[in-house]
């Protein structure tokens, strides 16, 4: 099991994520916007960060950029939740240092598969 930070401004999405991850025995912490997520990431040592792209205060891409600047998160997997299928956006995600992305809408199995893929368990 891993310690995972999820960041999304939609409560139902956060609920869905935390439910699914908790079912797979992960410990989950939630943030409602990018700034909150960054703050939490500084206070805790997460194994994985899953974040939405469109968020108030600090958007997902900027969050990834900020996280990558922190020594503790230089190599930590960070997954973006996105509805974009545009290759340009994906390139943008990679360039700020995102590990990968999960296309919304996702089903629980897909989410867990992606988590397994980056965590190795």
């Amino acid at each position: 099991m891993a310690y995972i930070l999820i960041s999304d401004d939609s409560v139902s999405m956060r609920r869905m994520l935390s439910f699914t991850l908790a079912e797979a025995n992960h410990e989950v912490m939630q943030a409602g916007d990018g700034e909150q997520a960054l703050e939490l990431a500084k206070q805790h040592q997460f194994d994985l960060v899953i974040t939405d792209v469109n968020m108030p205060l600090l958007d997902g891409l900027s969050l990834v950029r900020e996280l990558r600047a922190l020594p503790n998160y230089r190599y930590k997997p960070i997954l973006l939740l996105t509805t974009e299928t545009d290759p340009e956006k994906k390139q943008q995600a990679r360039s700020v240092g995102a590990t990968g992305w999960i296309l919304k809408p996702f089903n629980p199995d897909k989410l867990l598969a992606a988590v397994r893929k980056v965590l190795g368990y």
Partner: protein
Amino acid sequence: MAIDMAEVQQLFYEESYEGLDNMESILLDLEVGAMDKEVTNSIFRVVHSIKGGAGIFKFDQVVTFAHVAETLLDEMRNGQHVVTQHLIDLLLNSVDVLRMMLGSLRGEKTFVPEEVAACQRQLEAVLKKNQETVAAATTPPEPPSVAPESPPPLPMATKPQKTWQIHFKPYPSLLKTGNDPLNLFRELSNLGELTVTADTHALPDFKELVAENCYLSWNLTLHGSVEHNEIQEIFEWVEGDCDLEITLTSEVAPISEHSTASELSESATESALLESDTHLTTATTVEIPTTLVATESPQIVAVTTVPQDSLKIENSPVVPVHEENASVLVTSLSKVQTKENSSEKNNSLNAGQQHNTETSSIRVGIDKIDALINMVGELVITQSMLDQVGQSFDAARIIQLRDGLAQLERNTRELQESVMRIRMLPIGFSFNRFPRLVHDLSSQLGKKVELKLSGEHTELDKTVLEKMSDPLVHLVRNALDHGIEMPAQRLAAGKPEVGVLKLHAFHQSGSIIIQISDDGAGIDTDKVLQKARKLGLIHSEENLIEEQLYELIFHPGLSTATQVSDLSGRGVGMDVVRRNIRSLGGSIDVKSKRGKGSTFNIRLPLTLAILDGQLVRIGHDIYILSLLSIIESLRVNPKYVNALAGRAEVYKLRDEYIPILRLYELFDIPATTTKLEEGLLVIVEGDGQKIGLFVDELLSQQQIVIKSLESNYKQIQGVSGATILGDGNVALILDVAGIIQLFHHRTNYLTRHYPAMPSSHAATMIM
């Protein structure tokens, strides 16, 4: 997956509605012309979230529609559109369509596919992307963003066995995105039999080695019923950060279910050959074959030793192929089963959805919760303090006890206040719908109206707020329809062209006041009078003072609009408005000035759960009257009491005759006194009628927490609820309107049975 989908779904609805309300108000504030990027972004997020959520619940129509709207908003935030009124209206229309779709999913509204299609067409028409597409007439429209379900795994027998050769050369920076080649290989090994060979050619000298860079590259051989896209998918996230070549080296025709071991081992040998080939050609390689038993989590051992000339590590023996194959078969079967399970679950979910629509929830600000937790914390401290006092109590500690109890009292009161605050919502929740309503109505009526909201933060009970919603809408519509004049008329009357409609809320001595005022034509008293006479409400010779005239508009059947429009209805409104407000324990009145406008004042109690009560004693029992219903209390002067036929009594109070009701008689309980002059008369008003209640004594006034009698016992006429007093006794809360009704039944009964009393006389007295 045991997720409480119904709960998440409920959350999704609430959130979506909230988002749409928000989007609507932003759109209404939007200026034609330039556009703030942050503003567009927040609208975008609303639609985006709805699309995302709807996708989870497989509300495909919502997803498709939201996608089109989202595309437009995306173009807008990228500055591809200039905001026009048309665009705003279009997006407002989209808000309505989304509301309608969500409403129909909850079973609250009917789904109108034409509306969706029409709105979607309009949205698509303005899309820049589509315009380009049309011009180019090449690229097909973007595929729906619903992630395609991966097709159910085909039975093993029909899939060909393939051997893939993968060359994977990450760029040095690959690790910086948090991607780990090891994880990729692990994923690959889930697809089939994998052999990994690392190429350490590019490793620099130890001195030059940058620990953060990736210098290795790999050659992988994957054997199994694997398709190209499956491999591609695994490398999806590192595309662009590496050189990747995937080549098919061999393909074995579909093997039958009864595949022979020889066939399988043949292909195994093949890959083994390939493996040895690579081994031969590259001198300095680290070879890492891996075990591939799918039932266990595969282990890949990474080799991090600084390579010497040549190093070969055999990690594990060659896997018995048939075993792996069998386990894959099992996995695919179980996958099919899971799929069936989940679709079953979906069905039951849809069925369960119906029951869930009724549950309502409340959003509470975190500050309120924090206050509550603080309060509970203090309560715990007080409790432990009292506990200490109680453990070794003597007379010397009495002061401590008193302090403790005083603190407990304060804690309890504060706790009560905090808990009550949870139910309180800012009236802005109700006001927020009006900008849209006014926007739509004024353009429909051809009037120009400016809406001014103030006091949106005034909080009131959620139930009151919900029940006030319809009356407020009605009043606003009335003001627009009957109050504010057409622009030309206004100009002719020397008023500004744009009318002003104000909604104002504020606290006043324990009540909430909501004011709805307009600067329109005001109430035409002549017309009201004329109509009232026609309806026979007043006698033609009767002269009414202004206030009485205004009262008339709350009478059923009175509407002053010469032409009844479809907006404010047929005069069924104002009486219903008043009734609704009264049922909440509130009141409404109106002030108006010809040519200047009208103001409606609504007074509401802060909450329905607590009332300001007056305790009264009748015999040994204590009853509670709502302070709001009490007009005055007085000591009876026997001179002014008129007894009629020894049965019905009236009291002459100034110019009025007020019927007296002896409560001890009504409830059939022993009283301390039956002489009116020894008790008190409490004049109360309910349903517009006054009555004098005879009680023994007035006790204290206090806040009363209302407990439902209906849910704990049953409904009783004349009693609206009960409460528990400080001494633990239950006291009944009297319902004044109900008691007046009871009184009428009784006097009617008396009139019928004691015809000595002239009935016409009795009737005039009761009023």
